[in-house]
């Protein structure tokens, strides 16, 4: 089943094109990788999906993005859409609330008030984000006081607390040490059976380890989409893809 369908998508800031010609479908329960050098338009693509363009008057999105076969540009309640899509940003964002409140925030926004229910959600999400053991004794200390790597896992726990259908991760490992990165990658592999994952990464090997299929963005265009392994074994349509994955530029 197609989870996210993208057709003729283009994005501009103040009239200037930064991404165009994106066409692909993301299947339910796959990990879809997006690789590409800086300024390729990867982050902008994610922002278009959960309608983060709403408050940025400069940003315009043309073309079509269908989530569960619904055109996201026509959704009136964008909050409902965003609650079904978890996002993890490149830099960890531990909100200046307690660790508990960080994770309980999304369920509370969704109307969950039952303390026992919240306790269960908080423990489950922190466990899945491989953070529970480190913080279980100090759930009421500030989330913004954790180390960078811990904050990133907190961010992931928070994204999971929404019980999302889709998870979008934007270069989640740039502020995280390799060991933690590996632990998070293991978590993502486990999640694959339940959620659809879009993984934007500047580490091509990370895409290789995790992604079923991968798209290559370059200079505002989607140059290639294919089964990840094919991209790495040289079965590519575009020569630039091979150059990039082999580290010849970017």
């Amino acid at each position: 089943m197609v989870k996210l369908g993208v057709k003729d998508l283009s994005i501009s800031y103040a009239g200037e094109r930064v991404l165009e010609g994106v066409n692909f479908d993301i299947q339910e329960h796959e990990i879809f990788g997006i690789i590409g050098p800086a300024n390729a338009g990867k982050t902008s693509f994610l922002k278009a999906i959960n309608r983060m363009d709403m408050f940025n008057t400069e940003m315009t999105v043309d073309g079509e993005i269908r989530f569960n076969n619904v055109d996201v540009s026509k959704i009136r309640n964008v909050y409902g859409l965003r609650r079904r899509i978890g996002v993890v940003f490149p830099l960890p964002v531990g909100l200046p609330l307690s660790i508990y409140d960080n994770v309980a925030l999304a369920p509370r926004l969704g109307g969950q008030k039952d303390k026992a229910e919240l306790d269960i959600i908080v423990e489950r999400c922190l466990t899945r984000a491989a953070l529970w053991d480190e913080v279980k004794d100090r759930l009421d200390s500030l989330g913004s006081m954790l180390s960078g790597g811990q904050q990133q896992r907190l961010t992931i726990a928070r994204a999971l607390s929404q019980d999302p259908e889709m998870l979008m991760l934007d270069e989640f490992s740039i502020a995280v040490d390799p060991v933690t990165t590996m632990r998070i990658e293991d978590v993502l592999k486990e999640l694959r059976s339940e959620v659809t994952i879009i993984l934007v990464t500047n580490l091509v090997q990370q895409a290789r380890r995790l992604a079923d299929r991968t798209a290559f963005f370059l200079g505002g265009r989607c140059v290639e989409v294919g089964v990840t392994e094919d991209l790495f074994t040289g079965e590519v349509q575009d020569q630039r893809t091979r150059d990039y994955v082999e580290g010849r530029f970017g």
Partner: protein
């Protein structure tokens, strides 16, 4: 070919010990900044010492703790028996400040939220400048507004004999404190990084939820600072309350009672007392009291802000 020097370390050491222009400028700036900081402290201590010295005679002589704090009678010039009780004056200051905060807190918080979170571009700039202009209105002008405009309005609207009372002064003081509180609260909200808002928005929080659940908790130190500053302003304000309270000694039982403030008492009476008299010294003792209260408010603000920051 030149031989590499056998022992270059002495040359390196020499350059480490060379004091150049940058070094001297740096030292000079350090000294200047240090003097600047010290002088502020010296001035404050100096003022405190001066006030204490003037009030000292009263404190060791006529001062009666129980009378001073618990008697509502301020009769410094009574022929039969002078009484120096500040209870009514404290009640005056507290009631006016309390009402002012009741008005100023919601106003300034609302304005700050609107300016920081909703207004953008030209509107925002315009509002910020307006707020700063309002903050710069001299207090005697506010006092005049209380006297000339609020007074008849209160008399007519509520059908009371006098319009110079707690209500009048509270409203005037509230309007006076609101702009500066708005300005500080707005700074506090703006200091909350956008990535917090973005993270909450991405989770599906509505505009109001972002403010209520994330921005306000994150800015609570600064907001508390703004409120305490307003309280400090209320306690310290003199001219406007002198003009708008009615300046009569009373423990108020309703907002339509005239009262008298601590500060206004000093301002109105100090010029007419003989230096060194009991009355004169009692006024300075009120000064000491105000000084200590203000100090405690500021200290509390500081400690709370630090405490919250440490988590």
């Amino acid at each position: 070919m030149e031989q590499p020097a056998q022992n270059t370390s002495s040359g390196v050491d020499a350059s480490f010990d060379q004091l150049n222009r940058d070094w001297y400028i740096d030292k000079a700036v350090q000294v200047l900044v240090f003097l600047g900081g010290i002088s502020a402290i010296v001035f404050i201590i100096g003022i405190f010492v001066f006030i204490s010295k003037e009030g000292f005679g009263f404190l060791v002589g006529d001062f009666n703790f129980k009378e001073f704090f618990f008697s509502p009678n301020w009769r410094p010039t009574s022929e039969s028996k002078e009484t120096f009780g500040i209870l009514a004056l404290v009640a005056g200051t507290a009631s006016v400040t309390g009402l002012a905060m009741l008005i100023a807190i919601p106003f300034s918080l609302g304005a700050a939220i609107f300016i920081a979170e909703f207004a953008s571009g030209k509107t925002r700039e315009f509002l910020k400048i307006t707020v700063e202009l309002l903050a710069a209105i001299p207090s005697v002008v506010w006092g005049f507004i209380g006297l000339a405009i609020m007074n008849p309005i209160i008399i007519e609207t509520f059908n009371v004999p006098v319009g110079l009372n707690v209500l009048n002064a509270g409203v005037i003081l509230g309007l006076m404190a609101a702009p500066i509180m708005t300005s500080i609260a707005e700074d506090a909200l703006k200091a909350v990084p956008d990535r917090y808002r973005e993270a909450a928005e991405a989770m599906g929080a509505t505009r109001w939820q972002v403010i209520y659940k994330v921005v306000l908790p994150a800015a609570k130190n600064g907001l508390l600072g703004a409120v305490l500053l307003g309280v400090g302003r209320g306690f310290g304000e003199t001219m406007a309350v002198l003009m708008a309270t009615g300046h009569s000694i009373n423990i108020p039982t309703s907002v339509f009672d005239s009262v008298r403030a601590l500060t206004a008492t000093i301002a109105a009476e100090l010029g007419e007392t003989a230096a060194g008299s009991s009355h004169y010294q009692a006024l300075f003792t009120i000064g000491i009291f105000l000084f200590i209260i203000t100090f405690i408010i500021n200290l509390a603000a500081d400690l709370i802000v630090r405490g919250v920051r440490k988590g």
